[in-house]
Subunit: 212 residues, 2 copies
């Protein structure tokens, strides 16, 4: 059975973004500290067009994020900074002409738009009829493979709250942000089963099966 | 150098007690679920006068809580349900005549009281001049061994906020409580260093060095 999988870096006090999110600080003040363990990894750099980098206990975890994924779902704010109607100079994503997804990406938005074919197998589909329609489209496109819920956190919270996420991996960073955006507020009534724990430099990865 | 050590069970969404704490529900509605992994353990039962029980990956963690501890600090609400002045029928703790501490226990309170000697090496000292005085007394009594900060969470938050805790172990339970008492709110400006991670049935133990 295909699964909807979600992973995110989170501070020990539960924040996935710092306070005062803006175009300059898309994950808020201090939010980049949540990713300091990730950026130097070879397995992360390679999927984003880079070279070199470190190999450590996080490597296997990060590689698994990209394995057996047949489609991706994301919120519009993760796709780009444009708000409201798409306008004339159409935004093509943060990732250049060859985005790191290499599969159909379903972007949740209130503003319709033609699909956008990129290099390397990534096609952006713009879905205006809600999270369940996006999941249905992604499931069909994935053809039995899993679906990656790429974020951002408000979309992730909607899927979690609707009981649609099957697996969630939290990368817990030893850091207190003190304020900002919390992942797990108001998504109660989920049953969690601990699947796997990986201790790595500067982070611990906790993977759970999620049910309602 | 002796250390002030603290451990607590916490839900994945950051709560150490459920909502509506009362005398009947001292850790709030649903709060007992935070301890379901602990109560069956042989190493827990033995320190509380019981027999038998399970041995699993949590065993080593729980045994370490009691190792090299020379004194204990706790809040008054952890010592007992009495509020206000101590009255005439003096409360002697939740634990019977042979409490599981076997060392001097410094109870923080606003109401002075004579020290109380129990069986098995536990003596309760009632400290009315604040958390730093209690720590000083505990440190002296411990004679170079570590000091256990036994809770509850409001006292723990005071010590964390004052930068006085040296090591903290969070036992993260795969559970969302949704509301209640959070441990890590308003204790910002702490530096955490990940020391050790133990994956065990129904819980993951994350141990951190704490500095300011």
């Amino acid at each position: 059975m295909d699964k909807l999988r979600f992973n995110i870096a989170i501070s020990l006090d539960g924040y996935v973004a710092g306070p005062s999110q803006s175009e300059e600080n898309p994950i808020g003040i201090g939010g980049m500290k949540l990713h300091e363990w990730l950026l130097p990894l070879a397995s992360f750099r390679q999927t984003h067009g880079g070279h070199g980098g470190e190999v450590n206990a996080s490597t296997q975890v990060v590689e698994e994020w990209f394995e057996n994924i047949g489609a991706t779902i994301m919120g519009r704010n993760m796709f780009g900074p444009v708000r409201g109607p798409w306008g004339e100079n159409l935004w093509r994503g943060w990732w250049g002409e060859d985005p790191p997804f290499h599969n159909p990406v379903f972007v949740l938005t209130h503003h319709p738009r033609e699909q956008l074919e990129m290099d390397g197998g990534t096609t952006f589909h713009f879905i205006t009829d809600g999270i369940e329609a996006a999941l249905e489209g992604a499931r069909e496109a994935a053809g039995g493979a899993d679906i990656s819920l790429a974020g951002g956190s408000s979309v992730a919270r909607q899927y979690l709250g609707a009981g649609l996420v099957d697996e969630m991996e939290l990368s817990i960073v030893p850091l207190l942000l003190g304020s900002g955006e919390r992942l797990l507020d108001d998504v109660c009534d989920l049953e969690l089963e601990q699947l796997r724990v990986v201790e790595a430099p500067g982070v611990t990865h906790l993977k759970y099966r999620v049910a309602r």
